[in-house]
């Protein structure tokens, strides 16, 4: 009986529903004091004076620290995505080293006090004077300064991707579709604020940190403080959501450690909700445009895809928007270009479905328009253009797109759809349906992943690796994988994680977490099983002495051989006979090489039905349906939840989420959950999730491709296409807000 693939409920569920699960700010070592950070109120300029007298005199205050007090970092940070497994600062900048201000909210003063209230009250008493300089925080302010980005993602990806002759492809097309969009900035807004508890013991530092990568945090903080990596330990029991905000290591973590060293006590920091908008990156404001050339029967002859976005003064960061548009459809001529504007913001960062959710919004709304122009069903247009290999001619590691399109359409009831816009009134509402392709690249930048498996003479077992649980269900899935690999019952094995003292595991980002952890745990469990099978075969006291190892199976800790009917041994008895209190093994999984001769995309298809009130500008999503081919599904209950959550993130991206800076101050206009809208229960329709089974030998021993992002990709496009179907109008900005949908006078509406 295998556990992988069965809908086991979360192993950490009881702790989460009873409140027993401990998140980082809930760790309070004896003597803990509290840190409050004062952020810059200007977006550019310099600090000219800091009056901290009132704060220093306030009750309970232990220290008020400025750039004069904070130590210099041992080496300047260099942005590097945490998936690479090395130090991963979120930006190539560390604050409080001098008086210069690069972005609003940049830390300028630290206040440490005995209690949370004392720290925040004293922080409110600090007076900072600035010499403000002109700031650029919007695309409109910096458009003249835009430049072509040579490399993105800390140099990992080219800023430009080109094959064939796009101009020629567009010239020979029978028709051409041009679309352009403005997309507002997004903020992750995990429900748990980023938190750090820093505890020094002599020259050794322990951090309780809300992070998606304990190892990345360990290495980054060690590098910035000039400590041996072995002197920094990072512990993360539970994380209250990440969505990319905790994928990189941001300055507040190291500042907390610095403050703790200065005051000589454990220091706790929990960022405030407003600070979350200026402390851990964001999805940058951007504009995208696309030109599709096609033959009259709907075959693509050229794609040109452009993105323009704002980055920080210190990093060439852009969410890569062309990773899917460059390879999803068979098309000889492609050009993707990222242009950047350096502005007064922190370095943007990964936000769920980084890059490709908006890139696919652009491509898939253009494909919807193309379908209308060539008079083809949008589904048929996709099927006609689907690429059977990647652009290098390599086969997909596993496919499934056609099957997802067909299954999703069948489950949604797509066939027989009247393509005419405004054809389905329902009282004051106009009903529309739309669809889009979902696809997301897999990246194998990570170093080898390790895990350890251990079994005790009483038959109980553990598997361990240094990953962390932030809602993906990794604790549950890894327990299932470990149980199957070792051959023990689920109830006899425990998965340990969330601690850099455990074997190496890279930050869980880019939908890679479950695959990496499952692969390493599988290797460790398998190695230990082999070791124990060999022990039994070589043990004259074992009923299995001398059998062929290939004949041995282990279930629920019981060893049997197909070559010797009736003979059984157990792990417990085997260890006991051999005077062993335990046995352990390490397993290593090496990711496929970067030049693997395979296309690496995960596929899916999205369908949406909306109701639009054109007089009020209201859009209600009535239902969402998705079909996905994520390879091996380790736990369908949990995978379904993650895909459903991703789809609702796509709905939110389409209709709710967007922030702008005030061009006069350079500050974000919305810095709380009353103004920055995220979905509530009443916004969320019923969601259908279906799976298409595909087998994948390339991505790891279990063939799991990940479900973290793919659920979100394509949803915003499917909703926008449904709004067009309902109203006959294409909205050219995200989010699609009521004023952009509203038709002031029905008579003026296009027909």
């Amino acid at each position: 009986m295998t556990s992988v693939g069965t809908p086991v409920t979360r192993v950490d569920g009881p702790a989460k529903v009873t409140g027993a699960a401990l998140y980082s700010a809930e760790i309070t070592p004896p003597g803990t004091v509290h840190l409050a950070i004062v952020g810059s109120t200007v977006a550019a300029g310099r600090v000219t004076a800091i009056d901290a007298a009132a704060a220093r005199a306030a009750e309970g205050v232990l220290a008020v620290l400025t750039h004069d007090d904070v130590p210099a970092v041992a080496s300047p940070p260099h942005l590097l995505p945490s998936l690479l497994g090395a130090a991963a600062p979120g930006e190539s900048f560390f604050p409080m080293q001098d008086t210069v201000v690069h972005y609003a909210g940049q830390p300028v003063v630290l206040v440490v006090a005995h209690t949370y209230e004392q720290a925040h009250h004293a922080a409110s008493l600090v007076r900072v004077d600035y010499e403000a300089a002109p700031a650029i925080t919007t695309i409109d302010q910096g458009r003249e300064r835009a430049y072509d980005a040579e490399r993105l993602f800390a140099g990992l990806m080219p800023g430009r991707e080109e094959r064939g002759d796009v101009e020629a492809g567009l010239a020979r097309a029978d028709l051409r579709v041009d679309m352009s969009y403005r997309m507002a900035a997004n903020h992750h807004n995990a429900l748990e604020a980023p938190s750090t508890v820093a505890v020094w013991n002599g020259g050794e530092l322990t951090l309780y940190e809300s992070t998606m990568g304990v190892r990345a945090t360990q290495q980054t903080v060690a590098q910035l403080l000039g400590l041996p990596v072995s002197h920094v330990r990072v512990i993360t029991h539970f994380v209250g959501g990440g969505f990319g905000s905790k994928a990189m290591v941001w300055p507040h973590t190291t500042l907390t450690a610095m403050a703790a060293r200065i005051v000589g006590r454990p220091v706790k920091l929990m960022l405030t909700r407003p600070q979350m908008f200026t402390s851990t990156g964001h999805r940058e404001e951007q504009e995208q445009s696309i030109a599709l050339g096609a033959t009259r029967d709907g075959r693509l002859t050229a794609i040109r895809h452009d993105k323009l976005s704002i980055t920080s003064l210190f990093d060439d960061w852009a969410e890569p928007a062309t990773g899917v548009s460059s390879q999803l459809y068979a098309c000889d001529a492609y050009l993707g270009v990222h242009r950047l504007i350096k502005g007064n913001t922190m370095t943007p960062t990964f936000t769920r479905g980084p890059g490709e959710t908006l890139g696919m919004f652009t491509l898939e709304t253009a494909m919807d328009e193309l379908a209308r122009r060539v008079d083809l069903d949008p589904l048929e247009l996709r099927l006609r253009n689907v690429a059977t290999t990647d652009p290098r001619g390599n086969p997909w590691s596993s496919g499934g797109l056609e099957e997802c399109l067909r299954l999703g359409a069948e489950r949604f009831g797509w066939s027989g759809r009247n393509p005419a816009p405004r054809a389905q009134p329902d009282g004051d509402w106009l009903i529309g349906t739309g669809m889009a392709v979902a696809a997301y690249p897999m990246a194998f930048f990570m170093p080898p992943q390790r895990a350890r498996a251990r079994i005790f003479a009483d038959g109980s077992a553990t598997v361990a690796t240094s990953t962390q649980e932030f809602g993906t269900g990794v604790l549950t899935m890894a327990t299932q994988v470990g149980a199957d690999a070792l051959g023990v019952a689920l109830s006899d094995i425990e998965f340990q994680a969330g601690d850099t003292d455990l074997p190496n595991s890279t930050a869980a980002v880019g939908s890679a977490g479950a695959g990496m952890v499952a692969s390493a745990v599988h290797e460790a469990g398998t190695a230990l099983r082999r070791q124990l099978v060999d022990l039994a075969i070589g043990d004259p006291g074992s009923p299995l002495h001398g059998v062929d190892p290939a004949s041995v199976t282990v279930t629920a800790g019981r060893l049997t051989s197909s070559d010797r009917a009736g003979a059984t041994d157990t792990y417990g008895e085997l260890l006991g006979r051999n005077h062993l209190s335990d046995a352990e093994a390490t397993g290593t999984w090496r990711p496929p090489p970067l030049d693997t001769p395979h296309g690496l995309l995960t596929f899916g298809a999205q369908f949406a039905e909306v109701a639009v009130d054109p007089q009020l500008g209201l859009v209600r999503v009535r239902r969402l349906g998705g079909a996905f081919a994520p390879g091996r599904v380790l736990n369908p209950l949990l995978a379904r939840s993650q895909l459903m959550g991703g789809m609702l993130w796509g709905m939110s991206q389409a209709l709710l989420e967007g922030n702008h800076t005030d061009p006069r101050t350079g500050r974000w206009a919305e810095t709380n959950l009353a103004e920055y809208l995220v979905p509530v229960n009443a916004d969320a329709p019923e969601v259908t999730v279906d799976f298409v089974e595909v087998h994948d030998d390339v991505v790891g021993p279990l063939g799991a491709k990940g479900v973290g992002e793919i659920g979100q990709v394509g949803v915003a496009a499917a909703i926008a296409n449904a709004i067009f179907h309902a109203t006959g109008r294409r909205v050219r900005s995200l989010p699609i807000t009521p004023e952009t949908v509203m038709e002031p006078t029905p008579a003026a509406a296009p027909t």
Binding site: V17, Q118, L191, R273, G471, P679
Partner: protein, 171 residues
């Protein structure tokens, strides 16, 4: 204003003992009057099951019951809870026996990261008692004070329905 007066202005008020009944047990906590019920629970009483999501009354993660009514602990001063009965997520299970709503959240996978979960459950239990769980529309409307950023909303509705139906129909 003299220096002495200004120093008095900026000094925090002194701690006062606050007596509250929490999960059926009398507790005395020595806190400044400005301390919220949420911070009193989390930082002073070791009851960290109640979560701080926004500290601004917008997310519902800190939902607890005061005298049987659901309130936001971040917008309630600890001192204002003096003499009242407070119930937190830690007081819901009967020993090792989960409350039916806790079990329903687990079985319906009504959470992912788990951070909003205590607040969701404290709201959900009251929803049924209040008679606001009759239809799916009611459930989603009356649960909309509790944000779940992982967006487990359809599963949360399923969990509420399961408990409502097991309790013998809508309250």
């Amino acid at each position: 204003m003299s220096t002495t007066e200004s120093r008095q202005d900026i000094r925090g008020p002194h701690c006062v003992p606050v007596t509250v009944e929490i999960n059926g047990r009398g507790r005395v906590v020595d806190v400044e009057p400005r301390v919220s019920l949420l911070d009193a629970l989390r930082e002073h009483l070791g009851l960290t099951g109640t979560k701080k999501g926004c500290d601004q009354g917008t997310c519902g993660a800190c939902t607890v019951w005061v005298d049987g009514r659901r309130v936001l602990a971040c917008l309630t001063l600890a001192a204002a809870a003096a003499g009242h009965e407070v119930t937190t997520i830690e007081g819901l299970a009967d020993g090792d026996e989960l409350h039916p709503m806790q079990r329903a959240f687990l079985e319906n996978d009504a959470f992912q990261c788990g951070y909003c979960t205590p607040g969701q459950i404290m709201s959900a239990v009251k929803l049924i008692e209040e008679g606001n769980a009759t239809t799916d529309e009611d459930i989603s409307e009356f649960m909309s004070g509790n944000i779940c950023r992982c967006a487990a909303y359809p599963n949360i509705r399923a969990a509420v329905r399961q408990v409502r139906d097991a309790a013998g129909g809508a309250a």
